[in-house]
Amino acid sequence: MNATGSLARFQDAFSDALFRDSAETDPVIVPLAIQPAFAIYRNTVMKGSIDALQANFPAVTRLVGEEWLRAAAREFVVLQPPREPSLLQYGKSFPTFLSAFSPADELPYLADVGRLDRLWTEAHVSADGPVLDPQTFRASDPAALAHSRLVLHPSARWRWFPEMPIYTIWSRNREDDADGSDIKWRGEGALLARPHGAVVWRLISESASRFLDACAAGLTVMQAMEAALEADAEVDLVKLISNLVEAGAFSRLIKTP
């Protein structure tokens, strides 16, 4: 930024006045802020930012209702206005904001549901990439597999929630899901990926989440299996890996030297 001169001075004062009434005391902006039309700019900037948060957090919106969401979003926008010149990914820290937002105290799962909305956005806009075909994977040499590495698909996103059934709450609210059956209160993990066109998701275990963490860290399949066993010594590793391959979580299998 190399701001100089009176245009910069005008833009400092104008941008302050968009969010703060107190800035009206700035003599540069007083003649503008006293005009009723100044509200158009305030409203447009605020509405555009709130609309983006509502669009980017649909499961949160469905849980709390549009009015609640927009009121919370308004507070967030003042604290953390958009910084990227595109609103497609605005709200990265909105879940963290929700976790400390006292009106949400009675909804302890809300911030984590927001985290899955955020992972959906990340999966949606990520780079395209090849998808490891389950048949190719099944045909690979079992002896070599343990020392190979599974490379994650660019869109793969996952998270383990140890305390609450966040996957079930999120997936029921992400789409119009009529399933109103009782939710089993337990920890759950979620895997989201976009192997072909649309983002898809599935429930995963803590072992699977650990396995993916290890793959992301560049470890071998053997080391990733050890990590999965640390979470659950009884886990069926063959089933675990084939589930993840079928979900489109990986781009390819490479042999380590």
Binding site: L7, F10, E84, H124, V125, S126
Partner: protein, 278 residues
């Protein structure tokens, strides 16, 4: 531009399939590039599918060329990558600012048209054209505020900007109508004085009254059909300067695709009527 564009439509996601499959001769589409600055995925795939069948124009809203700062190099780089992928028939932006000291304000903000601002904006437009490797067209924004300290009227400012940088101009007739109503000038005189030779594109859209602020203020809301008053100004413009690529914009209260096509056909008829009369 290898071909002369005729009348086109702003493209919104709900119309994607209808737009892709529409075979109307000369139809083209305009999108906001900011919605496609992603690494991959369905958005880019949609746009590529549209582009495979129709010319596409990239109409930016976030380059912030009227900010007293250089345009963001990272943003320009992403725009360049999108433009190289889409090979747009037109690229345009606004005479406005929307980013400042690291914050993005999703609006087109006004400024005093001083000689200092002109020098800065010329440098910014040149930097953008260099980075994009393309000529861009700059659009007149809608005005709501009376700002003291203008040293240039808007037409002279835009004309000088085009002369110094070689950029083109985009004349939004609805913005002129809205601004004229809000600031109290004659929209016909503005349209009649707009320079013809740098004029690369024309925008037509609907406006509305601000529900809170009453009848005195018109809003460039893009949520209604083009008004008869704006059509009349447009027909006057075409009869003076000849056919120019013309876009129907609708961003809110989106009707069926066919309804927008009817408006598009009216613009097309105006352009064809001139060609026959000529």
């Amino acid at each position: 531009m290898s071909q002369m564009l005729t009348a086109g439509l702003g493209l919104k996601a709900p119309h994607f399939e209808a737009a892709r499959d529409c075979l109307a001769a000369g139809l083209w589409f305009e999108v906001h590039p900011e919605n496609y600055l992603v690494d991959g995925g369905p958005r880019l795939a949609w746009l590529s599918e549209i582009r495979a069948r129709h010319p596409v124009s990239l109409h930016g809203v976030a380059l912030s060329l009227a900010a007293d700062a250089r345009p963001d190099a990272g943003h320009l780089k992403k725009l360049r990558a999108l433009a190289d992928r889409i090979e747009p028939a037109l690229v345009s932006e606004h005479l406005a600012w929307s980013t400042w000291r690291g914050a993005y304000f999703p609006d087109l903000l006004p400024f005093p048209r001083t000689s200092q601002a002109l020098a800065r904006i010329c440098a910014n437009v040149s930097a953008a054209q260099d980075a994009l490797g393309r000529r861009i067209a700059i659009e007149n924004p809608s005005h709501y505020l009376r700002i003291d300290g203008h040293e240039w009227d808007e037409i002279a400012f835009l004309d000088e900007l085009a002369r110094r940088t070689g950029c083109g101009l985009l004349l939004d007739v609805n913005n002129v109508f809205v601004s004229a109503a809000n600031l109290g000038f004659d929209p016909r005189a503005y349209i009649d004085a707009f320079p013809s030779s740098p004029l690369m594109e024309v925008h037509l859209a609907g406006h509305s009254h601000d529900p809170a602020l009453g009848a005195e203020l018109l809003i460039d809301s893009h949520d209604a059909p083009v008004s008869e008053a704006v059509w009349a100004l447009y027909e006057g413009l075409v009869s003076r300067v000849g056919p120019r690529p013309t876009l129907i914009e609708r961003d809110d209260q989106l009707p069926e695709f066919g309804v927008l096509m009817t408006e598009r056909e009216r613009a097309q008829a105006t352009l064809s009527g001139f060609a026959r009369a000529a």
